[in-house]
């Protein structure tokens, strides 16, 4: 599709469509899910003791929240593949690194100690 076609579509009026703001839509649902995950994170912060399983769950929640924002709010789901891949991989790599940093903390300390 050309940019001109996109603009043509964008320029067409939405008169025949039902009012978008009257019902729950994908953006609303994304926001609600993000709120729930955030509150669950806060609950974990207040109640749970440190454990690898907790770290794993939190890492999953980071990856999930990042993916929701990238795909739905940032609208990268069908956008330029390179940008989408980089953005998505950021939220694969860092949750994994957070988990691995917990598992291999002694090795990281050893590796980064200057003797």
């Amino acid at each position: 599709m050309s940019a001109a076609e996109s603009k043509t579509i964008a320029g067409q009026g939405g008169e025949s469509l039902p009012p978008a703001k009257k019902r729950w839509n994908k953006l609303d649902i994304t926001w609600a899910v993000l709120m729930v995950v955030t509150l669950l994170n806060a609950f974990v912060a207040e109640t749970a003791d440190p454990h690898l399983l907790i770290t794993f769950v939190i890492c999953l929640s980071i990856a999930y929240k990042g993916r929701l924002v990238i795909d739905n709010f940032m609208e990268l789901y069908n956008a330029n593949k390179t940008i989408r891949s980089f953005m998505r991989s950021y939220f694969y790599v860092f949750p994994v690194l957070i988990f691995l940093a917990d598992v291999f903390s002694a090795q990281i300390a050893w590796f980064t100690t200057i003797n």
């Binding site: 579509i9 009026g13 978008a20 839509n25 924002v69 940032m74 690194l97 957070i98």
Partner: protein, 207 residues
Amino acid sequence: MSAITTDVFYLNGRGSVAQEPESLRRIPGNRAVWVGIFAELTEFAMFFIIYFIAKAHYPQEFEQGPLKLNTLAGTLNTVALISSSYFVAKAMFAIRQNRPRDSVRWLWGALLAGLAYLAIKTWEYQWNVSMGIHSDTNSFYTLYYYMTFNHLLHVGWASGTLLWAIFRVKQGVYNAENHSGMMAIACYWHMVDLAWIIIFPLLYVLR
């Protein structure tokens, strides 16, 4: 054009935001803003790597540190930023539907959420001081202040760009046919939200 119809386009935000034809296989906003976004994300990546190393060296400080922080403030900040990202996405939806007034309202909502973030963070810093938490208390709090203040600066100037977007929509420069500049601003704002999505659990949740 076969798979994408005008109806599908206007389902954007109701059905699937991913079906927005304008963004299909294209760079949202413009190239320049993505250079900026990746530069900022690289900067935050450096912070995160420093966090991993510091946590490995000072495990007790990083286990005790989050317990003394104000989790309510961190949670409220997350709520404010995610909500502001949502408002910006709604503003984009509205401008594509040729509803500039609605778009401006959503942008004001996003800006107010950004300002709420700044206010909450200021309150949190004051609360920290009253609790004896300073940037030189230990390595965890040094990183905490370094990361959160840097992020706060990003929220500050990104709020300025939202104000600019409001001005441009009101001027009629951003409209249904021309809004790539507004999309660039939106993408930058979402990046600021994305950085916080990692910072919040690192500093307030994980021990």
